[in-house]
């Protein structure tokens, strides 16, 4: 089908604002009478608070109020209500707020922090789930039995540090392993990392004297922020209003309510005064959500001709001090444990375990890179044991038409063509390395499949509000956060296509306000194009229907005899019988001024059809709803002197159904792959034994720079139209990260014959292996 506006490059509607320094981000906002907060953090990552003395701090210049957690009545959350905005009687991680100073300037607030005296009784610190699960481990939450949970899926195990347990059972695993000729078993570990948007978190909160609350923040879940803040204060949801200005990158950690409840709590002590909290980069590492942190013990069985028979796996998420925001990460990881492969039998169990680190929250593609790292690494190990090519083994076991994943969801042809993805990557990076080694380098290639569903709440929806203006132009309002992925551009393109008018006639919103924007669950899960796009199409159709009803009154034709072309509504058999859209979009003013018809102003919503919560007994069910699949490969060269891993070529092919915004789609892959390279080779939030973070800054926490780019990158899109997606499109934003780590580690094995089972794999780790294996070369003597 020929499209006029989608599939073609477009100018981003926000570009001029963002390029001239005029785009307003939270920290750029100053409100009249605004006060500033600074936060006191604990000396220990796990300790009882014996006393807090704020009297000296209160006397400091400029100080308006010193706030502690003693007024907090109950915890809050989404799935498991175990979170606190500020510590009450104990601290559970090193970045947990213990007290806050509100002052006229940030400088005064900071100066007063050192005058707050806190006495602690230190407790043992756990940063790894396996330690926190030990029988004699001290409890991080002593009374988890008291926490509210929305469904039994999120029920903690009192008397232990286990927050969430989730299990799936498919077929008969015992029988599956009996049928296997070969069994491979191993353990993999994905360390913690940080989303590190270049814009650190900042929030302003204002409790009005009429009892309403207003919040300005950088978050892609404004309605979730509103609901949780309202619930925390016992207010009507309608009395909390959240504004979202421009967001300087998200990558996960700005999608759940983060510092917003904290700032709202602090600001409640100074009603009538807005309070701003802007985090330093260090605080952004220590006091917001971190990501990943999953260990996986995996066992797979296969027949000698390479047919998978069984998967048995246990996953451990070190979820940090509060489990609410990590609970779905564990569940998703369990549900994704089979990757792109068909296992007739599977038994997978996962534990989310309290530890003394910042809480784990969303990070691009959460749950998927962790689980698929394990399965894609073990597929290579299995291929070796079977003496089979890893590509052949993969292709033999792909989830194809009619097959089911580990939670029993049946795949259809319209879910994508994994074989085409594989072929196009192999064309770019053939499996055979011409030169395996030379004087300076060792070379290898590696591959991995990838798959991801939105994995959102079953009721997750997106809305679109279309308002026709009297000149025939359109104002389009939605609540999707454009965090750089370009969704405002995509929204405008889809609206242009659906409304049959040039994008220039459609003004897309550039801020979100829960008072005016249509409800949206959260801009997460790479769902915007899919759900938001369908909401746009529904709203456009509703508007076109209304225009036809109005035209019907004017042209004296039944509405279904009329056509719409973006500018006119006309009789399909006599196109000359027509009326301009601009003349009927607010009703039609007849000659004597009498006005007939309706105002064309519509809102529509869309949610994934038929998505279920998992079955309480088996953990199975249609929990994904819409999947995007792909394949990635890379060629590495490893410096024999230094152990440095260079990515010579990285190739990605994803079946996106339909590309809407080509440059945007390609950049999502480029950015996602580079973030994947970061988490594979350099990025790790490193914890000391006492729970402190060893590298909470951008000097010691290494983010990929230009010098870390692959020598070459190939990006290919396959377009097998989706049965439900708008114009056949599927989600894409997070997917490019998923196969990067296993593809690189598989390539490293190919180069040096060593199986790394954790990421990141640092230069020092590789160098050590090269030395042990005698693969290094000594510098030539001059």
């Amino acid at each position: 089908m020929e499209y006029k506006y989608i599939g073609k490059d477009a100018k981003r509607p926000s570009a001029v604002e963002r390029i001239t320094g005029k785009a307003i981000f939270v920290d750029d906002i100053r409100l009249p009478g605004m006060l500033y907060a600074k936060i006191l953090y604990p000396k220990y990552a796990h300790a009882k608070i014996l006393s807090i003395d704020t009297s000296e701090a209160e006397k400091m210049p400029g100080v308006v109020k010193v706030v502690t957690g003693k007024n907090i009545k109950h915890p809050f959350g989404d799935c498991l209500h175990d979170r606190l905005p500020m510590a009450v009687d104990k601290v559970r991680y090193i970045g947990e707020p213990v007290a806050a100073v509100i002052a006229d300037t940030e400088r005064h607030a900071r100066a007063a922090l050192s005058k707050i005296k806190v006495e602690y009784e230190p407790l043992p610190v756990y940063t790894d789930a396996l330690d926190a699960m030990k029988k004699d481990a001290v409890l991080i939450h002593e009374h988890s039995e008291k926490y509210f949970y929305v469904t039994p899926l999120y029920k903690p195990t009192p008397g232990t540090n286990i927050a969430i347990t989730y299990e799936i059972k498919k077929g008969d695993v015992k029988k599956g392993f009996e049928e296997a000729d070969v069994v491979v078993e191993d353990e993999f570990n994905f360390h913690h990392m940080s989303s590190v948007a270049i814009e650190p978190h900042a929030t302003i909160a204002l409790h009005h004297l009429d009892g309403t609350v207003e919040i300005w923040t950088a978050n892609v879940g404004p309605f979730a922020v509103r609901e949780q803040v309202a619930e925390f204060f016992g207010k009507n949801i309608s009395d909390v209003r959240v504004h979202i200005p421009h967001i300087g990158g998200c990558f996960g950690y700005k999608s759940d309510p983060g510092i917003e409840p904290l700032v709202a709590y602090i600001a409640s002590f100074v009603p009538g005064r807005p309070v701003k909290l802007r985090l330093t980069r260090k605080e952004d590492f220590t006091s917001t959500f971190i990501g990943r942190g999953i260990r996986a013990r995996v066992k797979v069985g296969a027949t000698k001709d390479g047919k998978l028979t069984a998967l048995e796996e246990t996953l451990y998420l070190s979820t940090g001090a509060y489990a609410d925001t990590g609970s779905n990460i564990l569940i998703v990881a369990v549900q994704t444990s089979g990757g792109v492969y068909y296992f007739p039998n599977a038994h997978v169990k996962g534990y989310s375990v309290y530890t003394n680190t910042p809480p784990v929250g969303a990070l691009r593609a959460y749950g998927h890179p962790e689980a698929e790292f394990a399965i894609e690494r073990i597929m290579d190990m299995l291929a070796r044991k079977l003496d089979m090519s890893p590509i052949e083994l993969r292709k033999k076991n792909y989830i194809t038409d009619g097959k089911t994943n580990v939670v029993g969801e049946k795949f259809k042809k319209s879910d994508g063509d994994l074989f085409k993805c594989t072929e196009s990557v192999l064309e770019a990076i053939p499996p055979k390395v011409e030169v395996k080694e030379d004087e300076n380098y060792l070379y290898g290639v590696g591959y991995a499949g990838l798959i991801k569903a939105p994995k959102a709440a079953t009721f997750a929806s997106k809305g679109c509000h279309i308002k026709f203006n009297v000149d025939g132009t359109v104002s389009l309002n939605m609540a999707g956060g454009d965090v750089g992925q370009g969704l405002w551009t995509v929204a405008r393109q889809i609206a242009a296509e659906a409304l049959k008018m040039p994008p220039e006639k459609i003004k897309v919103y550039n801020e979100i306000d829960t008072q005016y924007s249509p409800w949206e669950w959260q801009t997460v899960g790479s769902m915007f194009t899919f759900q938001g796009g369908n909401a746009i199409i529904r709203a456009a159709n509703k508007a076109i229907d209304a225009l036809k009803r109005n035209a019907s009154l004017v042209l004296k034709r039944d509405p279904d005899m009329l056509e719409y072309d973006g500018e006119y509504v006309y009789d399909r058999s006599y196109p000359d019988v027509k009326v301009a859209v601009k003349d009927i979009c607010r009703g039609y003013v007849t000659e004597d001024g009498t006005t007939i018809g309706e105002v064309v102003d519509v809102t529509s919503y869309f949610r994934l059809p038929g998505v279920q919560g998992p079955d309480p007994e088996t953990g199975m069910g249609r929990t994904g709803g819409s999947y995007t699949m792909g394949f990635q490969g890379c060629k590495v060269k490893i410096d024999r002197r230094t152990g440095k891993v260079y990515i010579d070529h990285f190739a990605t092919s994803i079946d996106v159904g339909k590309v809407i915004f080509p440059k945007g789609a390609e950049a999502q892959v480029l950015g996602g792959v580079l973030m994947g390279i970061g988490e594979t080779l350099m990025e790790e939030v490193r914890f000391k034994e006492n729970g402190e973070i060893a590298n909470p800054d951008l000097i010691r926490y290494k983010l990929p720079r230009i010098e870390d780019l692959p020598g070459k990158q190939t990006v290919k899109f396959i377009e097998t139209p989706d049965a439900v997606g708008p114009f056949g499109a599927r989600g894409l934003g997070e997917h490019p990260m998923i196969g990067v780590a296993p593809a690189i580690l598989n390539a490293i094995y190919d180069a040096i014959g060593y199986d790394f089972k954790e990421v990141p794999v640092t230069q020092d780790m590789v160098k050590k292996v090269l030395e042990e294996k005698g693969l290094t070369v000594k510098d030539k003597e001059e």
Binding site: K11, E17, G21, I198, G248, G249, I699, R705, L709
Partner: protein
């Protein structure tokens, strides 16, 4: 309070400040020139880059009191008479403006580079961009934008009003 005189975006100003502020603090908090961004406070991310006396500097690392008489250019001073600067135009044409948080710093870096050396090599461009962190683009769109920016900039030399 103390004061120094500097030229900011072409306007000569006497600016009062406490004493220990960085250039970034003064730009954002005193002058409300919020196009310059705080990303790390350690000179690692480049989001706060502005041009001082023709050189790209990380404004979070410069004490304001050392800038007496300096000429400072920020992103707000780049477009003139409602016209985007050629470098800004290039970023739009190359679709290199994603979340837009690191972009002002990168544009100021390139402005300093090209005004000093319009014929900068690709290696020199990459070296300049390597001082900046961007989490969105994967950098290739930025490199592409920089090359187009160089072309537009060279075309614009001598045409300025």
């Amino acid at each position: 309070m103390q004061s120094i005189t500097v030229t900011i975006n072409g306007e000569k100003k006497e600016i009062y400040f406490e004493g220990g502020e960085t250039l970034l603090d003064v730009l954002r908090d005193n002058l409300y020139l919020t196009g310059t961004k705080y990303g790390c406070g350690q000179g690692a991310c480049g989001a706060c880059t502005v041009v001082v006396n023709g050189e790209a500097v990380k404004s979070c690392m410069v004490l304001f009191r050392r800038l007496e008489g300096a000429e400072i250019l920020t992103i707000e001073g780049l477009s003139k008479n409602g016209e985007l600067h050629p470098i800004q135009k290039a970023f739009i044409d190359a679709d290199a403006v994603h979340c837009g948080f690191c972009t002002p710093g990168i544009i100021m870096e390139l402005y300093a580079l090209f005004t000093k050396n319009p014929d900068a090599s690709e290696e020199e461009i990459k070296k300049a961009l390597n001082k900046h962190l961007c989490r969105c683009t994967g950098y290739l769109p930025l490199i592409e934008a920089a090359k187009i920016a160089q072309k537009y900039y060279k075309e614009s030399i001598g045409k300025e009003v």
